[in-house]
């Protein structure tokens, strides 16, 4: 090729590679300290913070729980969790609609995790962007409330495809809304045959203990 010519170069690189590298560093940090981490993803208002509170009650006295709250601007959720007397850190993402793994990594490096056995990361309320970005978690949990409609897995399949647990929340409201649980189960399973599905109501407590038992078992299985 002479000067000024055009040449085609093969790149073959995943675009989110830098995020993957930060996620791998988080995974290594967690694994070295035997901390089990959940990445909680949902639309705003689906019950992530409520699930975190239920987990805090369940793990009370069984080793430390630490929480990282992601939110675009506010500290409202972090304040709510702080009242439970656990270690909480807030990540305000500002223009970004998900937690960046590099940001989570630097927050984890600043935290005292010597007593921590369970790390709960509440991602920014959004079903699109958090699905694309791994945070080095052991399990990814997507929450879907019955008030959001049963088309979400068809509209946002990536988050259902990449999640280990699907939690259908606010099931006490099923008599009042149009929401076909079987339709959601079918779509989620088509995207991810291995997804474990739970139906819960934080209001009545229905299904909560099965979900908490499962998370406790997953936590215990991490060597």
């Amino acid at each position: 090729m002479g000067p000024g010519g055009t040449v085609r170069i093969e790149v073959e690189r995943a675009i989110l590679q830098s995020a993957d590298e930060a996620a791998a560093a988080i995974r290594a940090l967690l694994s070295e300290r035997k901390i089990f981490a959940l990445n909680l993803i949902s639309s705003p208002g689906s019950g992530k913070t409520t699930l975190i509170e239920a987990l805090l009650a369940r793990f009370d006295g069984k080793g430390g729980v630490a929480v990282v709250e992601g939110d675009i601007e506010t500290e409202i959720d972090a304040e709510r969790i702080r009242k439970h007397g656990v270690q909480v850190r807030q990540i305000n993402t500002h223009t970004s609609c998900h937690i960046q793994p590099s940001r989570l990594l630097s927050v984890l490096r600043e935290m005292d995790l010597s007593e921590t056995r369970l790390l709960l990361v509440e991602n920014v309320g959004n079903l699109v962007c958090p699905a694309e970005v791994p945070l080095g978690e052991d399990a990814r949990v997507v929450l879907l409330s019955v008030t959001e409609g049963d088309e979400k897995p068809l509209k946002y399949p990536l988050v259902f495809k990449t999640s280990d647990l699907l939690v259908i929340t606010k099931t006490d409201l099923l008599p009042y809304v149009t929401f076909d649980v079987d339709r959601v189960r079918r779509a989620a399973r088509a995207a991810n045959p291995a997804v474990e599905i739970f139906e819960v109501s934080a209001t009545t407590g229905a299904g909560m203990s099965d979900l908490l038992d499962r998370i406790e078992a997953l936590r215990a299985a991490k060597k």
Binding site: G5, V7, I9, V11, E132, A190, P193
Partner: protein
Amino acid sequence: MHELGVAGEILDVVLSEADRHAAKKVTSIRLRVGVLRSIEPENLSFLFEHLARGTAAEGAFLEIVEEPVRIECEGCGVSEARAFKCECPRCHGPNVSVTGGDSLRILTLDIED
């Protein structure tokens, strides 16, 4: 504005590759984008053009190769689709597994030295 972050990531990779190959100018970028990535190609091109101003990738053409999902039906084998579906597009049977459609890769760059 989901595409803004993706456009920024693409530009980072493109500029570091351009640098590595001592390219003066990047003229064309070929991407493979899965249909599950919720990316609007026009929006991505617009944002990329904006971010690339004043860099070696200014004015580069983004060629987006769409990656479909593969729908594997128990009854009739594999079909492809441009959106996620939880039933077979041929027989409408519910026993399907859906794979692919989640790529987000840079395939090639055309550069001038």
